[in-house]
C-alpha cells in the first residue's frame, strides 16, 4: 500500500505510472475523485513554485495569496502568453544574454547559475548554452510585435510529453492496452523542418528515439534543415518595423547577415526536398505503419498535392496520424479530413488541442471533443474581466489551464482561445473527464485583430520574408 502522500506525488509527477499506463483509466476516474486529487496537487505545486520561481512569488506576494485551496483561488495567478515575452527585445538586439538568462531564471524552478553565456553569438547559441548548462530545454514561438516568446520547458517535461503521446496514439479509449500497444516501432513522417527551437521542432530529437526504436533512419523529415531562431527573430522585428513605418531603422546583426548565402541555399533546396519527400512516401514507405503529425493545413496541403500526383492510400491502415492546431489564415474545404484520409489510406485521424505554454495535450474522443488531461485543471474566464465563469452548466469563455505536471515553470496559463465546456452533461463517448467542444476560435481571429502569433504553418513564409530582406544587403 502506498501512503496518501506518495500517491499524490506519483499523480503529480508520473501520472502514467499512477494510471497504470492506461488512457482509459486516466479519463474514467470519477469527477469527484480527480478534483480532490487536483486540489491537493495544485496546492502542493503552488507551494513549491512559490519558493522556487521568483515571478510566481512576486505576483503571489503582491496579490497577498499565500495558499490555494479551491480551484478559483489560483485564477489571479494565471499568466497570459505575454509573460513569456516580457523581457525587453533590446536585450536580444544587444546580445545581452547574461541579462536574458537573469530574466529567464526568474521564470523557472531550475538553476541557471552554471550556464555560460560568454561570447554568445545569438539566440540559437544561447539556447544551446542553456541546454548544456541546465535542465532547461526552452522552446520559442514567434510574434509580430518584435519579440519572441521563450518558454522554459525542461528535459524531463519533453521526454514525458512524448511518452504521453505514444500512449494516446497507439491506445484506444475503453480498450485496456496490450503490451504491443505500449511500445510499437514505426517510421515517423515529419512534414516539417528537421531541427529548431520552435515548440514543435524541439520534439524532433525525442520523436527520433521514442517511436523508431532508436533507429534514426526511420525518421523522415520533409526538409533536412534547421529553422534558425535568430532568423525568426529578425522576421518578427521586420514585421513590427513595417507596421511602424520603421523599416529604414532595422539593423541586421552582422553574424546573421554573414549567413545569408546559407539561408538562400536552404530556400532553394526546399522544392527539391519536397519532391524527394513525396517520392520516398510513395515508394520506400508505402504500406508501412507510420506515425505522422502536422497541422490541419499542412496535412491537407500535402494530401492535396499527393493526390494530384496520383498518390493515395500510402500507409498501413493502423498508422497513427495526429493533427490539430487551427486553420488560421487558411480556408479549408469542408471535406478536408476525407482528402487527408484518402491520401494517407487510414480510417482514423486523431486530433488534439494544446498550446506551447503548457505541456499538456488534450486528445479528442470519438465524439470529437477534447478531453482535458486529468492532471490539468481547466478554467473558463470572462474574456473582458478575466473573472472565472461558474464551473457548471454550459459555458463559453476564454480558456485557461493549470497544469499540475509542469515542474520547470509555472503551470497556470490563460490562452487566447474561446472554448465551450458543458460542465454538467457527461460526454456521450462515455469518458468522465471534462470535454471541450470541438469548435475553438482564437479571440484575435474572432475580433479581426492582428494575431500576435505565427503558427508553425507560417514558419516558411516568415523565413522567406527575412531572407528576401537580407537579399537587399548584397555585397
Amino acid at each position: 500500500m502506498m501512503t496518501a502522500e506518495k500517491t499524490l506525488d506519483l499523480f503529480m509527477n508520473d501520472p502514467i505510472e499512477y494510471f497504470d499506463a492506461s488512457i482509459t483509466k486516466m479519463h474514467t476516474i470519477s469527477r469527484d475523485e480527480i478534483e480532490a486529487l487536483q486540489r491537493q496537487g495544485m496546492k502542493k505545486r503552488f507551494a513549491a513554485h512559490r519558493e522556487s520561481i521568483e515571478i510566481v512569488r512576486n505576483l503571489a506576494d503582491r496579490l497577498d495569496i499565500k495558499d490555494v485551496d479551491e480551484f478559483n483561488d489560483v485564477t489571479p495567478l494565471l499568466f497570459a502568453h505575454t509573460a513569456f515575452k516580457s523581457y525587453p527585445a533590446a536585450l536580444l538586439d544587444n546580445k545581452r544574454f547574461d541579462l536574458m538568462t537573469k530574466w529567464l531564471q526568474k521564470q523557472t524552478s531550475h538553476d541557471l547559475s552554471e550556464v555560460d553565456v560568454s561570447n554568445c553569438e545569438g539566440i540559437d547559441d544561447w539556447i544551446d548554452r542553456l541546454d548544456a548548462g541546465s535542465k532547461l530545454r526552452v522552446i520559442t514561438s514567434s510574434g509580430t510585435t518584435g519579440t519572441i516568446s521563450i518558454i522554459p520547458k525542461d528535459d524531463y517535461g519533453g521526454f514525458y510529453g512524448m511518452r504521453l503521446w505514444r500512449l494516446f496514439l497507439f491506445q484506444e479509449f475503453f480498450k485496456e492496452p496490450k503490451p504491443e500497444d505500449l511500445d510499437p516501432v514505426v517510421d515517423v513522417i515529419w512534414p516539417n523542418y528537421a531541427e529548431g527551437k520552435l515548440g514543435h521542432l524541439r520534439m524532433v530529437g525525442l520523436l527520433k528515439n521514442e517511436f523508431t526504436g532508436g533507429d534514426e533512419s526511420r525518421f523522415h523529415p520533409l526538409y533536412s534543415d534547421a529553422v534558425s531562431t535568430d532568423l525568426m527573430f529578425l522576421a518578427s522585428k521586420l514585421r513590427a518595423a513595417a507596421s511602424r513605418g520603421e523599416l529604414d531603422r532595422v539593423k541586421i546583426d552582422p553574424a546573421l547577415l554573414a549567413r545569408k548565402d546559407e539561408f538562400q541555399a536552404m530556400e532553394e533546396r526546399r522544392p527539391v526536398e519536397m519532391e524527394k519527400f513525396f517520392k520516398r512516401m510513395a515508394t520506400e514507405l508505402a504500406g508501412k505503419r507510420v506515425f505522422m503529425t502536422g497541422t490541419y493545413t499542412l496535412m491537407y496541403e500535402i494530401a492535396k498535392s499527393g493526390l494530384e500526383q496520383g498518390v493515395k492510400d500510402v500507409f498501413a491502415k493502423n498508422s497513427a496520424i495526429l493533427t490539430g492546431g487551427g486553420t488560421k489564415g487558411h480556408v479549408l474545404p469542408d471535406n478536408y479530413m476525407e482528402v487527408i484520409k484518402e491520401f494517407l489510406g487510414v480510417d482514423r485521424i486523431q486530433e488534439g488541442y494544446g498550446m506551447s505554454e503548457i505541456s499538456a495535450f488534450h486528445w479528442a474522443c470519438p465524439e470529437n471533443r477534447y478531453h482535458v488531461q486529468p492532471w490539468v485543471i481547466p478554467f473558463l474566464l470572462d474574456p473582458d474581466t478575466s473573472e472565472p465563469l461558474p464551473r457548471e452548466g454550459k459555458q463559453t469563455g476564454r480558456a485557461a489551464f493549470y497544469d499540475i505536471l509542469n515542474e520547470s515553470h509555472w503551470g497556470g496559463i490563460i490562452s487566447g482561445d474561446e472554448v465551450t465546456i458543458d460542465w454538467d452533461t457527461p460526454c456521450p463517448c462515455g469518458l468522465a473527464s471534462v470535454p471541450i467542444e470541438h469548435e475553438i476560435i482564437r479571440y484575435s481571429e474572432k475580433e479581426g485583430t492582428e494575431d500576435d502569433r505565427i503558427t508553425c504553418n507560417a514558419t516558411q513564409e516568415v523565413q522567406d520574408e527575412a531572407v528576401n530582406f537580407m537579399r537587399e544587403f548584397e555585397g
Binding site: 515571478i55 505576483l59 505575454t82 525587453p88 537573469k102 513590427a240 511602424r244
Partner: protein, 486 residues
C-alpha cells in the same frame, strides 16, 4: 439589433428609406442606413457646371451661412445633434461626459473669425474670392485663383470635430463634398448637414454637400463612385488599411490627399525636476496630453522620453515623474478624461507581463483598466508601444536626445515638448526624422483648425490652382518671332 439609423443626406434632401442593417464596431449593436447601392448614382454632382452657383456667392456670404450653422448647432436645442449624441453613446468609445463636451464645443469651430483666420492663413481670402494678379519677370501678368474641386472625404471617426472641419473646408474652398460616414462617428456629419439644410435651405453650400454611409471597402459602391468623372480628389483620414485601400482608385485625374495614421511623442527636459511645483505642473501637462479624449486621438501622448539620465538617480526621477503623471491623470475632470469604456485585452496582458518584469519596468496603476503609466527602468520604450491606448503611457528615461530622434519617424505627428528652450533646440532636427508638429507640453490635443496638418497644407491641396495668363506681345517676347539658334 440595430440601435439607431443613419439617414443619407443628398444635397438638401434627407433619405430615410431602403434601410439595410450594418454591424457596428466593437461589441455594441449595429445600425441601419439607406441601401447605398440604390443611391450611389445620386451621390456625385451631375456635371461640373453645377459648381457654378458657388461662384455667385461672396466669401462674406459663406461666412454668414457657416456662422448661422454654428449658432444652430446648440447642443441643448438641436434635435439632430441630440440624436447624434445618443448614437455616439453606442457607437464610440467615449463616455457621455466627454461626448457631450465635444458637441458643446462644436459651435466654436464655426465662429466667424476663426473661419476667416483659417481661410486667410491657409489659402488667402483674395485667392478664394477672385483672381490675384502678379507680373512676372518676362512681362506676363498671371492671375491666380483657388477653385474648388469635387471631393470625396473619408474622415476619421474619433471625434465629431473632424466632420465639422471637413464641412467648413468644403465651404470656404467652394468645393463639392461627398462625405463617407465613419462607423465610429455615424451621425455627426449628417446632423450638421441637416442643420445646414434647416438654416440655409436651397443655398449652394447645402446643395454641395452629400453625406452617406457605406461599408468602407465595399467595392461595389466605391468602384462606381471613385472615378475621375465623379470626383477629382479624395481626402482620406485614418488607419493604414483604409488609406491603403483608397490608393487602388487613384489614377490620373483622381488625386489622394492622405492624412494617414499617426502617432505622437513627448519629450521632457531635465528642467522638469527643478522644483516640486514645476514637477507637478509638468506631470499635469503630460497627463493632459495622455488622457485628453481618452487617448483616442493621434495627437495624444504615448511614449514620453525624459532627459533625466539612466543612472540610479535618473531612474528614480523617472519613477517619481511616472507616479505624478498617474496621479494627475486620475484627477483630470470628467469632461476631459475618464476611465476608458473598453480596454484592449492584448494590451492588458502585456501590461501584466511588464508588471512581473520589475527589473525593467515599473507599472503605476492599471489594475482596474483605469489607465497606467509604465516607467521603463532603462532607455527603451516597451516593445508593445504601438498598442498603447486607453490612457496608458510609457515613461522612458534617456541620457541624451539621440535616443529620442531614433524613435521619431514618418508616423510621428505631434511632439509635445517641455520646456520651450528644448523645443527651440530640437525644432530643426526633429522634422528631419519625420516629426510634423512641435507643441508646448499639455497642448498636444488642443489643436486648432487653422494650422497645417500632418506636414501638408490640406486646404490648399483641396483647391485647384488655376492660372490666367495675359501676354501682351509688346511686353512679352512673341514666340513666333523667336530666331533659330544656330
Amino acid at each position: 439589433m440595430s440601435e439607431f439609423r443613419v439617414p443619407m443626406f443628398l444635397r438638401g434632401q434627407v433619405v430615410e428609406d431602403d434601410w439595410i442593417e450594418y454591424g457596428g464596431r466593437g461589441a455594441s449593436g449595429g445600425f441601419e442606413a439607406p441601401d447605398p447601392a440604390k443611391y450611389v448614382e445620386q451621390l456625385p454632382l451631375e456635371n461640373p457646371m453645377a459648381m457654378a452657383d458657388l461662384y455667385e456667392i461672396s466669401f462674406e456670404e459663406i461666412l454668414d451661412v457657416l456662422e448661422a450653422l454654428g449658432q444652430a448647432l446648440d447642443f441643448e436645442k438641436n434635435v439632430h445633434i441630440k440624436r447624434a449624441f445618443e448614437a455616439g453613446l453606442v457607437a464610440t468609445n467615449y463616455p457621455a461626459s466627454m461626448l457631450k463636451n465635444s458637441y458643446t464645443m462644436l459651435p466654436y469651430v464655426f465662429e466667424r473669425e476663426t473661419i476667416r483666420e483659417l481661410a486667410e492663413a491657409r489659402v488667402g481670402i483674395d485667392h478664394l474670392e477672385g483672381w490675384v494678379p502678379r507680373t512676372l519677370r518676362d512681362g506676363r501678368i498671371v492671375r491666380i485663383r483657388a477653385f474648388g474641386a469635387r471631393t470625396l472625404h473619408v474622415p476619421a471617426g474619433n471625434g465629431g470635430l473632424v466632420s465639422a472641419i471637413t464641412i467648413i473646408r468644403n465651404a470656404i474652398t467652394r468645393s463639392d463634398a461627398i462625405i463617407k460616414v465613419p462607423s465610429n462617428d455615424p451621425l455627426t456629419a449628417v446632423a450638421i448637414a441637416q442643420t445646414l439644410a434647416d438654416v440655409a435651405p436651397n443655398h449652394p453650400l447645402t446643395k454641395h454637400l452629400a453625406v452617406a454611409y457605406w461599408k468602407g471597402g465595399d467595392t461595389e459602391i466605391e468602384e462606381r463612385l471613385y472615378r475621375p468623372e465623379h470626383v477629382e480628389k479624395i481626402v482620406a483620414w485614418g488607419g493604414y488599411a483604409s488609406v491603403k485601400h483608397v490608393t487602388r482608385y487613384i489614377q490620373p485625374g483622381l488625386e489622394l490627399i492622405s492624412l494617414d495614421p499617426k502617432r505622437s511623442a513627448t519629450i521632457i527636459g531635465p528642467e522638469a525636476f527643478e522644483s516640486e511645483e514645476v514637477l507637478s505642473e509638468v506631470a499635469l501637462r503630460a497627463a493632459t496630453d495622455i488622457g485628453m479624449a481618452n487617448q483616442e486621438g493621434c495627437t495624444c501622448a504615448r511614449v514620453i522620453y525624459v532627459l533625466c539620465g539612466t543612472d540610479a538617480s535618473g531612474i528614480e526621477r523617472a519613477n517619481r515623474l511616472g507616479e505624478r503623471i498617474y496621479q494627475q491623470m486620475m484627477s483630470l475632470p470628467e469632461h476631459i478624461s475618464t476611465k476608458p469604456k473598453t480596454f484592449d485585452r492584448e494590451l492588458r496582458d502585456h501590461i501584466d507581463g511588464s508588471r512581473m518584469t520589475d527589473d525593467w519596468y515599473r507599472v503605476v496603476g492599471g489594475e482596474e483598466n483605469e489607465g497606467a503609466v509604465i516607467v521603463s527602468q532603462f532607455d527603451e520604450a516597451v516593445d508593445y508601444a504601438p498598442m498603447l491606448s486607453g490612457r496608458v503611457a510609457n515613461v522612458v528615461p534617456v541620457d541624451d536626445i539621440k535616443k529620442v530622434t531614433d524613435a521619431v519617424n514618418s508616423y510621428t505627428q505631434t511632439v509635445g515638448i517641455y520646456p520651450e528652450s528644448l523645443k527651440r533646440e530640437l525644432r530643426n532636427q526633429l522634422p528631419l526624422f519625420g516629426a510634423q508638429r512641435l507643441t508646448s507640453l499639455g497642448y498636444a490635443c488642443h489643436v486648432t483648425s487653422t494650422m497645417p496638418q500632418d506636414a501638408i497644407e490640406p486646404v490648399r491641396r483641396m483647391c485647384k490652382w488655376i492660372v490666367d495668363e495675359e501676354c501682351d506681345p509688346e511686353k512679352v517676347f512673341p514666340p513666333w518671332k523667336a530666331p533659330a539658334i544656330s
